[in-house]
Subunit: 237 residues, 2 copies
DNA sequence: CGCGCAATTGAGTCGACTCAACGTTGGTGG
DNA sequence: CCACCAACGTTGAGTCGACTCAATTGCGCG
C-alpha cells in the first residue's frame, strides 16, 4: 500500500495528512490470478485500479492475434488512472502474475481532487510521467536496435523498482516470460531470447529465473542510451 | 486561435466565459521557420506552446543520428502542455513547416487552473488523450505491419484534422516529407516510399504533393484496424 | 515420475534495410 | 525568362537482420 504513496510522491512532496488521503483512496482490495483480466477493454468503469503486489500490463491484441504491451505495471502503479477522466479503456489491463489490486472509486478521486489541490496536481503529474514513459517506448520501438531496446527496458525497470524499494543490490525480480518481454518490445520470442543471450555474453545483464541481474550498470546505460530524466525520479542517485 | 478552443473542448464542453479564458491563455505569438526548433530539449521553460498554424513534431535524435518522431502536431495542438508540470523537456519540439505558435506562460495556466476547475479538468483530459495517442503509436510501431501502420496514421490525421476543420472532403493537406513520415513510423525512407506506393496501388489512399487523399475510407480503416475511440472525439461521425 | 510451460537452439525464408542512381519539382538568380 | 540547384521522390540491386517453423532441453509442480 505504501508503494502507492511512494509512487504518487515520486517527484514532489505531500504532507502527512495528504498521504493519508492518498491511502484512503483505496476503498478495498481484490486478488487476480495470473493470466486473468484486471480491467477489460471497451467497458465503462467507475473506478481505477492500483497494483499493490505482482506485475500487470496494459495490452492490446490485434486481429492477427499478436499482442502489444504498452505498459508494464508494478507495485504502486495505477493501471488506469486515466479511466478517471476518459471512462472507457481501449486496452485491457492484464495480470501477468498473481496480483493484489487496490480499487479506487472515481468518486473518491473526485472528492480528493476537489478538496486537495496538491494531490490533484500530483495525480495529473502522475499521468504526465506515464506519458513520458510512453514516449520513451515509442523511441525504443521505432529506432533503438533490439539489444539497446532490451537494455533500455532493463534500466527503466531497475529504477522504477528501486524507487519503490524492490531491488536487491543490482538484482531485481521481474516475474514475466520472454514472451511478455517480446510483446513489450515488439520483437519475436526467438529474437528476444537470442538478444538476451547477447546481453549476458557481453556481461551487461542477465535475465534468468524471472529475475534480472545487472553486471555493468554504466555500460548497460551506455548501450541503451538511457537517460533517466524521463522517469522524473527526484530521489534516485 | 479558435482551433485551440476547438481542440481543448474536443470531448467536453466549456461555457462562453470559459472559452474566453482559454483564448486568454495565449499572451503572444511567435513565428518559427520550417526546420527550426520551437522548444529545445533539456532546458527549463516557464511557458507552453500551441500550434496556431503549420505542422510541428516532438522528436528525439539518438547518438547514431537517427530520429524518432513521437508526436505530430497540428493547429490547435499543445506542443508541450506537460512542461507545465514537468518543466524540462526530454525531447525537442521541431517546426516541420513554418509555424505560428501561441505562447502560454505557465503562470497563466496556474491562474486558470486555480480559478476554473472545469478548464483544469479539460487540460488534464487533454494530456490524457495525448497519452492515448502515444499508446496507439506504441501498438503501431510494435505490432502493426508497415502498410497497416501507415494506413493507421492516415486515418488518425484525417480525424484530427477534421476535428479542427482542416479537411476537404476526403483530402487533407499534410505538409511533411516522406522522411518525416518514416521517422514517425520507425521505418526507412525507401520502405515508406514503397509502402505508400502500395497504398496507392491498392486504391486505399494517396500521399502526393504534401497532401493525402483517401480513396476508400472503410477499407483503409479495416487495413489499419483503426478504431477512433482512442481519440475521444465526441463530435465526429 | 511425468506433464506442461518456458527457454533454447538450428535452419531456412522473407522483409526491411542500405547503397546508389535517377527523375521530378519548385525556387532563385543571372 | 530560362538555367541551374537543391530538396524530395522513385526505383533497382544486393545484404543482413528478424522472422517463422520446428525440435530439443530445462525446470517446477502435482
Amino acid at each position: 500500500m505504501d508503494h502507492l504513496v511512494t509512487r504518487v510522491t515520486w517527484s514532489g512532496t505531500l504532507s502527512e495528512r495528504e498521504q493519508a488521503q492518498v491511502r484512503r483512496l483505496v476503498t478495498h482490495r481484490r486478488l487476480f490470478a495470473a493470466n486473468s483480466e484486471i480491467v477489460p477493454a471497451g467497458v465503462r468503469i467507475d473506478f481505477s485500479s492500483v497494483i499493490l503486489s505482482g506485475v500487470s500490463c496494459r495490452q492490446k491484441i490485434l486481429n492477427s492475434g499478436v499482442r502489444q504491451i504498452t505498459a508494464l505495471q508494478i507495485s504502486g502503479d495505477f493501471c488506469d488512472l486515466h479511466s478517471y477522466m476518459v471512462k472507457t479503456m481501449e486496452e485491457s489491463v492484464f495480470a501477468i502474475t498473481d496480483c493484489e489490486v487496490g480499487i479506487v472509486p472515481h468518486k473518491e478521486i473526485d472528492r480528493v481532487v476537489e478538496q486537495e489541490p496538491n494531490i490533484a496536481r500530483q495525480l495529473w503529474l502522475y499521468t504526465l510521467i506515464d506519458a513520458s514513459i510512453y514516449r520513451e517506448w515509442i523511441v525504443s520501438l521505432g529506432r533503438r536496435p533490439v539489444l539497446s531496446r532490451l537494455a533500455h527496458l532493463i534500466c527503466e525497470m531497475y529504477l522504477r523498482l528501486k524507487a519503490v524499494g524492490l531491488v536487491n543490490g543490482m538484482s531485481y525480480s521481474l516475474p514475466v516470460t520472454q514472451q511478455d518481454i517480446s510483446d513489450a518490445m515488439g520483437t519475436s520470442l526467438v529474437h528476444t531470447n537470442r538478444t538476451l543471450a547477447r546481453l549476458r555474453q557481453e556481461r551487461l545483464a542477465t535475465f534468468a529465473n524471472r529475475a534480472v541481474t545487472i553486471h555493468n550498470w554504466a555500460e548497460l546505460q551506455r548501450v541503451a542510451e538511457f537517460d533517466p530524466t524521463y522517469l522524473h525520479l527526484h530521489l534516485v542517485e
